[in-house]
């Protein structure tokens, strides 16, 4: 914990520790300037790379660990023809070897474009969502399938939210303490971020609840979550510049806030996580110094103990 506290103190430049919800947007700390360049010491070793899919046609991996310690990866592959399909491989030895790919999606048609899988586990099974447009019109559906923890076949894919939700929709699926699932949707066309609760082992999907509107959806997004709350970070155009914004699904309500502000004139590609009781964000930001654009990796954080939304 001491190291964590030290980190947060370092990140606290410019008042980062102030809750975002009620305070003025904080100044972000450029990571590059926090870290001295003189004493670079590698602290991690990377083991041998293993080709999860075993072919040269795979991309967009999503990860989950099963209760038995197996590692699961869902990904997009073109191994079964020109269409991009969803595949799944599993490792029972900590990632040293991986099973042969299992085809998950069975969607056909010239326009089938499967993408963006997200994988999570609860006590009842392994749950997978992904995006696919197979109706020829460019609209995207969120597809869902599940499998028991002991293995076996995956359920026939369904699109529980109906069709044409968005032109493109991506979802982060995660498990809540009560075993229900929550999907945070991020899509265009309607320019909405939405949240959906999934219960009864994937059988019941709530109507999407709007979290926030988005003026520009192409700048990256990330999701972090606690036992009860979910937080979405995304880059959006605010005024003239792209900023990092967040919206939390806290106590059942949307709590919006901005992260990147202050002297930054733009930011995108957010990363997001929760460490202890703090929400950490990292993103590419830039500012103009002496008429030139200076780019850096920035981090921001705030306490999760935000005031109740009102």
């Amino acid at each position: 914990m001491k190291k964590q506290v030290r980190l947060l103190l370092v990140l606290a430049l410019g008042g980062l520790l102030l809750p975002l919800v009620t305070q003025a947007a904080p100044q972000a700390a450029p990571l590059g300037r926090m870290l001295p360049s003189a004493a670079i010491q590698p602290t991690y070793q990377l083991g041998p790379w293993v080709n999860v899919g075993g072919t040269d046609t795979d991309e967009q991996p999503a990860f989950a660990e099963l209760p038995n310690g197996h590692l699961g990866v869902a990904y997009i592959t073109s191994r079964w023809g020109s269409l991009r399909q969803v595949a799944y491989s599993e490792s029972d030895d900590g990632g040293l070897t991986w099973s042969a790919a299992v085809q998950i999606s069975q969607l056909g048609g010239q326009a089938a474009l499967n993408s963006s899988p997200s994988l999570t586990v609860n006590s009842q099974g392994l749950h997978l969502v992904w995006s696919a447009s197979d109706n020829g019109g460019g609209s995207s559906r969120l597809w869902y399938t599940s499998r028991s923890l002991s293995g076996g076949s995956w359920s026939p894919p369904t699109y529980p939210l109906g069709s044409s939700l968005f032109n493109t929709v991506v979802a982060d699926l995660h498990t809540l303490p009560d075993g229900s699932l929550r999907a945070v949707l991020f899509g265009d066309t309607r320019y909405l971020a939405q949240v959906v609760t999934v219960t009864t082992n994937g059988a019941n999907w709530s109507a999407p609840l709007n979290l926030t509107t988005i003026s520009h959806t192409g700048q990256g997004y990330a999701v972090a979550y606690t036992a009860s709350d979910s937080y979405l970070a995304f880059a959006d155009i605010v005024g003239d510049n792209t900023k990092i914004r967040t919206v939390g699904f806290v106590n059942g309500l949307a709590v919006p806030a901005d992260i990147a502000s202050g002297r930054l004139v733009g930011a995108q590609t957010p990363g997001f996580t929760i460490a202890g009781n703090r929400l950490l964000a990292a993103y590419c930001g830039w500012e103009i110094i002496g008429g030139s654009n200076h780019r850096d990796v920035y981090t921001s954080s705030r306490s999760l103990a935000a005031p109740a939304p009102g």
């Binding site: 083991g47 590692l71 474009l113 780019r295």
Partner: protein, 441 residues
């Protein structure tokens, strides 16, 4: 956060050194230690996604990459364990010791290099574009960076017990298409697919070009210049039709632009692909990889200024002072908007603003197209469209474009006559159609 309580930040820096040598490197920053260069596969690999995953087995890196040095491009999903020795050590593998002050710029080159690239782009009415470049050296040009930040955490006594890992999305950062085009051309003649794909990525305006942050020893300079020449010099023919004719121009050979939301069955596929192949439009990076165009989304004034500039050969223009109070030099599209305003194809509002994020209506779009193409106005005595009467501000423009088959209408909901829906927001797909046709006719 690792077992020691340190937060980890994984990010990706891409360097454009001229295809096929574009590559990216993953860096792992440890919160209580300087950043370490972690992973590089060599000169022709582009990481598309990367994340730190946690399991009972420990930490691991799950990445996907594309090898642009192969044809077709190899795309792999790889996993590798990530081990911490517990205490910092200098014996761990590292491939680069780039200064962490360069976190959003490419790693320092190992040798000083000077590169001067000059590119000239011309285009003909048959929609082919010739690009030439004369680099004096192949060098790293600090043109674009790709950043992906992944932070991971392991449960701690105070952490949520359900929290295992957080995956961060990847987005490509970019510069303008013109500069990147020069870069692509400067050092190699890559396969068409590779060239086009990378360009599409680079055209996403996210991070502006780095100009002063890098502490690299490189003195490479990019003096690339591109001349925008209108793709078409159509001669008015007076042909009247409300049904757009099949395209007469062809896609450039080898152009394989693909947007995930514009399949070949999409009604605007040819228009979007045509313009993308000619560097006029670009899409948005999908969080999970690939690109999309959002054909049904409204086109914004700023976006259209850029499209119009690139389509009709209006060179970027930098005034002494910003013309509009809400379009400052920090805006990635500043020069495009200023150029369009300088060419008087777009204007501002009485309050001095440009309202760059405001959508364009179909009527406004017709007026701008007519203004820039300067077609002889068509003034039929009877309006073609029920909802575009003679006294409507866009009447002449809509009628003119309609007479040339550039725009069409649909049956009015009343069931009587044709309607143009001039007050509806112009979609990006429809805009692509209209711009393409206006280039041809």
């Amino acid at each position: 956060m690792d077992a020691r309580g340190s937060s980890l930040l994984l990010y990706n820096i891409a360097t454009l050194a001229g295809l096929p040598n574009s590559y990216s490197t993953l860096y792992l920053a440890v919160a209580d230690a300087p950043a370490s260069s972690l992973v590089s596969f060599g000169g022709q690999v582009q990481f598309k996604s990367q994340q730190i995953v946690t399991s009972n087995s420990g930490l691991g890196l799950l990445v996907s990459y594309r090898d642009v040095g192969t044809a077709p491009h190899v795309r792999r999903v790889l996993y590798a364990p990530l081990t911490s020795p517990g205490t910092p050590t200098s014996t761990a593998t590292t491939t680069n010791t780039a200064s962490p002050t360069e976190t959003c710029t490419p790693p320092s080159p190992t040798a000083t290099a000077t590169a001067t690239a000059t590119a000239t782009a011309t285009a003909t009415a048959t929609a082919s574009r010739t690009i030439t470049a004369s680099p004096t050296a192949s060098s790293t040009m600090t043109l674009t960076s790709t950043l992906t930040a992944t932070t991971t955490t392991s449960p701690t006594p105070t952490a949520s017990p359900t929290l295992t890992t957080t995956t961060i999305t990847a987005t490509t950062t970019a510069t303008t298409s013109r500069t990147t085009t020069a870069t692509n051309t400067a050092t190699s003649t890559p396969p068409a697919t590779a060239s086009r794909t990378t360009l599409a990525e680079s055209r996403e305006v996210i991070c502006p070009p780095a100009t002063a942050t890098s502490t690299a020893s490189s003195t490479a300079t990019n003096t690339a210049t591109v001349t925008n020449t209108p793709l078409a010099t159509a001669t008015p023919t007076g042909t009247s039709t409300n049904t757009p004719a099949p395209p007469t121009a062809t896609l450039p050979a080898g152009c394989q632009v693909s947007f995930s939301d514009v399949p070949s069955s999409n009604v605007f596929w040819y228009d979007v692909t045509f313009l993308a192949c000619h560097w006029i439009i670009s899409g948005y990076a999908n969080p999970g990889g690939g690109y999309r165009f959002e054909p049904n989304s409204p086109v914004r004034r700023a976006e259209f200024a850029k499209i119009a500039d690139l389509a009709f050969g209006i060179a970027p223009y930098q005034p002494g002072q910003p013309t509009f109070s809400d379009v400052l030099p920090s805006n990635p599209l500043y020069l495009y908007i200023e150029a369009a305003a300088h060419a008087r194809i777009v204007g501002g509002f009485p309050d001095g603003t440009f309202q760059p994020n405001t959508s364009l209506s179909r009527g406004q779009l017709a007026v701008i197209i007519q203004r820039v193409r300067q077609y002889p106005p068509a003034t039929p005595t009877t309006p073609t469209f029920q909802d575009v009467p003679i006294n409507y501000f866009a009447y002449n423009a809509v009628e003119t474009l309609s007479s040339r088959g550039i725009v069409g209408g649909a049956n009015c909901t009343s069931g009587v006559g044709l309607c143009f829906r001039p007050n509806e927001v112009a979609s990006r797909g429809a805009t692509a159609r209209i711009v393409r046709l206006s280039l041809e006719r």
